[in-house]
């Protein structure tokens, strides 16, 4: 087939429509949040003293970390799924969440006697944390990988990893409402491992599933 003939065929198909990628991303984010909320409420749900805890700095700081991670990953994944879109500022934004966590860890180390560092880090929920963040995040991750297929990421493995970070940030936001371990030492360790697992899954999905 000559290229001119191909152009005739493409032109004849000009009227076919697809939802603009950027709008589709917002719908996907909404659907992912709903799925994460349903899984969260059907399994572990918020902790009973949620309203009391909401007055403490440590409890609230968890949401700052996870929401900042989700928001920055959402900005980056939208850029990564669009060919030729500038990504450097969104890429730089990804450092915000780790920086905030690092700052909180330093403050915690200053505020808490050295003898307690170990128990604060180990906490009481680490297995639940490492189980439920991936469990809540797996549905959203599937949606985001599907969205990457709908888009056109020129770096599919990186985009897949960012899909995992986005799913992780979203899942951790819900999980944080359940967890009693509010110390930044706990968050920096176990949340990170759980979210990294989702990022790894996402990278694999990007490698093998996101082809276009």
């Amino acid at each position: 087939m000559r290229t001119d003939d191909l152009i005739k065929a493409l032109d004849a198909d000009a009227r076919s429509k697809a939802m603009p990628l950027q709008s589709a991303w917002w719908m996907a984010a909404g659907a992912a949040a709903v799925i994460a909320a349903i899984v969260f409420l059907l399994t572990i749900g918020p902790r009973p003293d949620f309203m009391v805890a909401a007055h403490t700095m440590r409890f609230l700081s968890k949401f700052v970390f996870t929401i900042v991670l989700a928001v920055s990953a959402f900005a980056l994944i939208r850029a990564l799924s669009t060919p030729g879109a500038p990504t450097s500022s969104a890429m730089a934004g990804m450092i915000a969440a780790p920086l905030l966590v690092a700052l909180a860890v330093v403050l915690e180390l200053l505020a808490v006697p050295e003898a307690d560092w170990g128990t604060r880090m180990v906490g009481s929920n680490m297995m639940i944390c490492m189980g439920f963040i991936p469990l809540i995040g797996i549905g959203p991750l599937a949606i985001f990988l599907w969205m990457l297929r709908y888009g056109a990421p020129t770096r599919p493995v990186l985009a897949g990893a960012v899909a995992g970070l986005l799913a992780g940030g979203l899942a951790a936001t819900f999980y944080a409402a359940h967890c009693f371990d509010d110390s930044p030492l706990f968050v920096a360790t176990w949340y990170t491992i759980a979210i990294a697992f989702l990022a790894l899954l996402g990278a694999l999905g990007g490698r093998f599933f996101v082809r276009w």
Binding site: D5, L6, A14, S16, T82, G84, A85
Partner: protein, 183 residues
């Protein structure tokens, strides 16, 4: 490429998305020429046929045109897709060279096979369902309109459009998965 090119091509693409078929044909022809130049400059040694990459890029541009933001310049988007498809072509070729010993024998046996019909897109076309293949061929190679194709096969124009759309999407998908060669 100049700023004037960019403005004109963005305008054509916006008109095309709004449903102007003439603008779309214009856009695709001009993009084909730009991408051809780009790909020929990048392919310095043989093995990858530039025109195959041009065709893959055009198909990707078509099936992924919803990823272009209408407020963004169109050329960086086009070249990012072309570069991606070019790298893909090199990658596939590397893999084929490593594993396909049989191909060499075949080439020696039938040298006349090297012709226009050897285009990657023709092999991808062979993988379509018979209905999709005949519609895509009628509209492209035979240059018939949607209406003429509908009359020829005795089906509705909507059915022609659906077959064409699905056929093109299937070809693009096979390109994406590198599954159109002799495996």
């Amino acid at each position: 490429m100049t700023g004037k090119d960019e403005a004109e091509l963005s305008r054509l693409m916006r008109a095309a998305i709004a449903g102007d078929e003439k603008a779309y044909a214009d856009f695709l022809r001009r993009i084909a020429a730009l991408v051809r130049g780009f790909v020929r400059r990048k392919i310095v040694q043989g093995g990858v046929d530039p025109e195959d990459v041009v065709q893959e890029t055009l198909l990707a541009i078509h099936v992924k045109r919803h990823t272009w933001r209408q407020d963004a310049p169109v050329l960086p988007w086009v070249y990012a897709i072309a570069r991606f498809k070019l790298i893909d072509a090199f990658r596939r070729r590397g893999r084929r060279i490593e594993i396909d010993v049989d191909d060499i024998a075949e080439t020696f046996a039938e040298p006349e096979q090297e012709s226009v019909s050897e285009r990657d897109i023709n092999r991808a076309l062979d993988g379509l369902s018979p209905a999709q293949r005949s519609v895509v061929s009628a509209v492209s190679v035979e240059g018939q309109s949607i209406g003429e194709t509908a009359a020829k096969f005795g089906i509705s124009e909507t059915a022609v459009r659906v077959s064409l759309h699905r056929g093109l999407a299937a070809i693009a998908k096979r390109f994406g998965q590198g599954r159109f060669g002799r495996e």
